[in-house]
Symmetry: C2
């Protein structure tokens, strides 16, 4: 439903931008996406809209900027509240959802980066840490279909974009998420069957190529 102009300052490879895009798709919000040039400096609009962190995603709703992806998803949930609630209504369950969203925010991408940027013994440690984090997430999922229960919800949206980087972690780390965390892997597949997710997430092989480019640029290879 229309509640005015919605513009997303975006970057195709950012798992954090994917969160905002999936949330907008889930809510059926018409929006314009403006791709930031990853290698050509940040746009004036981005610097003006998010002067503190200077990072995508930024959601501009009728010109007013909202930053930090988890906060953006919460905002979308509150503004377009009449369709597909993302957070549960019970305060205790909301707090649990926020807890796991926060856990994911603090752990997953950082642990993945360690796999991509370390070598030798340090890479083994990074891999072990990453798998341990996924096992904790698998534990939180339990026997549910989604973190949101029978339906995909807030935590599912926070987590799923990050999995588009997993092929890169697997190839650089020499392991398979499916072997280590079969239930988490099954959850990934369930999410990918959702149109709102499938149309947003890029091909993981494209992310892998992107990581190779990044590593070359940073002189790791």
């Amino acid at each position: 439903m229309s509640k005015g102009e919605v513009v997303l300052l975006d970057c195709w490879a950012s798992p954090f931008c994917m969160r905002a895009k999936i949330a907008l798709e889930e809510k059926g919000v018409q929006h314009e996406r403006r791709e930031e040039n990853l290698f050509g400096g940040k746009s004036e609009l981005l610097l003006k809209s998010n002067p503190i962190h200077q990072q995508v995603p930024v959601l501009l709703h009728n010109g007013k900027p909202i930053s930090e992806s988890t906060i953006v998803v919460g905002y979308i949930d509150e503004v377009w509240s009449s369709s597909t609630p993302l957070l549960p209504t019970c305060p205790y369950e909301r707090a649990q959802a926020r807890f796991w969203a926060d856990f994911i925010d603090k752990k997953v991408f950082e642990a993945g980066r360690e796999i991509l940027t370390s070598e030798g013994e340090a890479k083994e440690v990074a891999k072990k840490d990453f798998i341990e984090i996924l096992k904790q997430l698998e534990g939180a999922l339990g026997d549910k279909s989604f973190y949101g229960g029978d339906a995909s919800g807030f935590v599912d949206i926070i987590a799923i974009g990050l999995t588009s980087w997993f092929v890169a972690y697997e190839k650089f780390g020499g392991f398979k998420v499916e072997d280590q965390c079969p239930k988490f892997s099954a959850w990934m597949k369930r999410c990918m069957q959702r149109e709102t997710v499938a149309k947003v997430l890029p091909d993981p092989e494209k992310i892998y190529e992107f990581v190779i480019t990044l590593r070359k640029m940073r002189g790791i290879e």
Copy 2:
């Protein structure tokens, strides 16, 4: 008002626990505090209630645990919603409050720790970084009395507990917050005039002594 049993797993020196305590005071929630023994190992109840992070604060509401201080404050606001709202009602203003709470979470305590644990040139950098963070926070306050506007709110509660460590930062860093950030300093004083804050925050000199003990234990001194 009573909504069942409320127990807080607490530690007197933790600025994160102070958030939960101030929020409970603001809402007038009767509660029991159980002090964790800082140097004697963590309680079974803490390990069971927060197995992922094993950190205070944990709010046990009718036996159900809520962890991570910012989430705890949000939970308290939602459950005891009829008195003194902490977050604004407008989704955009809520997102802004969450943004600054997140900024504070990510930056302030970590930057302060750097002052306490570094020496020489590194300490000068740490001090500069810390003051820069406070200046950003001062900018966010603008000419308002509180982050919540005319009344203390969510961001004020998230931030004020951390200031009980500022005397320690000042003494180890050789600077004065008041000289660098007079408006932020005036905000600190306004908060301390609130009974809900004054009765929760410990004497900063006691925190300073505690930091000296911690440094000795960790062999920094």
